[in-house]
Symmetry: C2
Subunit: 180 residues, 2 copies
């Protein structure tokens, strides 16, 4: 199962135009509480992210690659690998990446870290099962969009964790277009 697990502002931005996440990291929450990172990561066997997310991690994390599981970076550019991780670079169609991730995950689930357009590509390919969002009590008005596609979801569960409202959605497919 592939889950897009992310934080977002109330108005649907992953980050502002400058990719700052300061508004996010100052929000009170419990990593071991509902929808917290600890329990989520315990079930994950491989991750995938776009190049902007990758470069954000490189810029903000010193030391070795912070994830101990196979990690794919989707990029059309030639990016340097951070030492200490099982990093694999890919470009183009997301389907072979999904297959390789599934093979590498040892029966565990897959995490799509971001960004929004990559999540949209997996959704369009019918490969995105879930969206789990933790909504921070902030509006930015502009920035990196959460999921720039027309999609129908189905609410599975929701809970408050500190300042966040976190919800799990099943991705049901393209938005039903019954425009009147």
């Amino acid at each position: 199962m592939l889950t897009y697990y992310t934080a977002t502002t109330l108005d649907g931005f992953l980050a502002d135009e400058h990719d700052s996440l300061d508004w996010l990291f100052r929000q009170e929450h419990d990593e071991s509480g509902p929808f917290g990172m600890e329990a989520f990561m315990a079930g994950i066997g491989a991750i995938v992210m776009g190049s902007t997310t990758y470069e954000w991690v490189l810029a903000h994390e010193d030391g070795p690659w912070p994830y101990a599981i196979p990690s794919w970076v989707m990029t059309s550019r030639d990016l340097a690998a951070r030492d200490g991780g099982d990093l694999r670079f890919a470009s183009g169609d997301v389907r072979p990446v999904f297959e390789a991730m599934t093979a590498a995950a040892g029966g565990k689930d897959l995490w799509l870290v971001g960004g929004g357009d990559l999540a949209g590509q997996f959704a369009e390919a019918g490969l995105l099962d879930e969206v789990v969002v933790s909504v921070a009590p902030v509006t930015l008005g502009a920035g990196r969009p959460l999921l720039p596609r027309r999609l129908d979801l189905e609410l599975v569960e929701s809970a408050v964790n500190g300042a966040f409202v976190s919800s799990r959605y099943r991705v049901t497919g393209p938005l039903r277009e019954d425009r009147s």
Copy 2:
């Protein structure tokens, strides 16, 4: 107290570029359940909306003006009044409108119906107390933005009502800018 009470998509749009709300009206919910319209409207003594919202109501509601309380429309254009309502048109600064609404509301609260930019104008003037959003399980990727400003909010309460996750936020002010 002025409350911006609205539905939105998970990615922060009030409507798509064609102002269609078909994605909204097919979502299951209980008007008398948590954050439902019935209990909310019982506490409201005056409403205000922008011209796009007003024209949407005119296009989608036959018969007389559907709100039985004093209703302000903020517009720089010359718009026709729908019969059967206490409709008042205004433009420019939102402060005198807020004062007139307060005087007309008979001690009850005020509802900002939409859209997002008008909510932003009231927030900038320090007059927006609350944002109550019901998030529909839909992404649109583009459209009319929920609240195109940089604001800090404070989560007060959250509940599920059918397909919606509804949350009440107190508006605490402009976004704290501690960018690193």
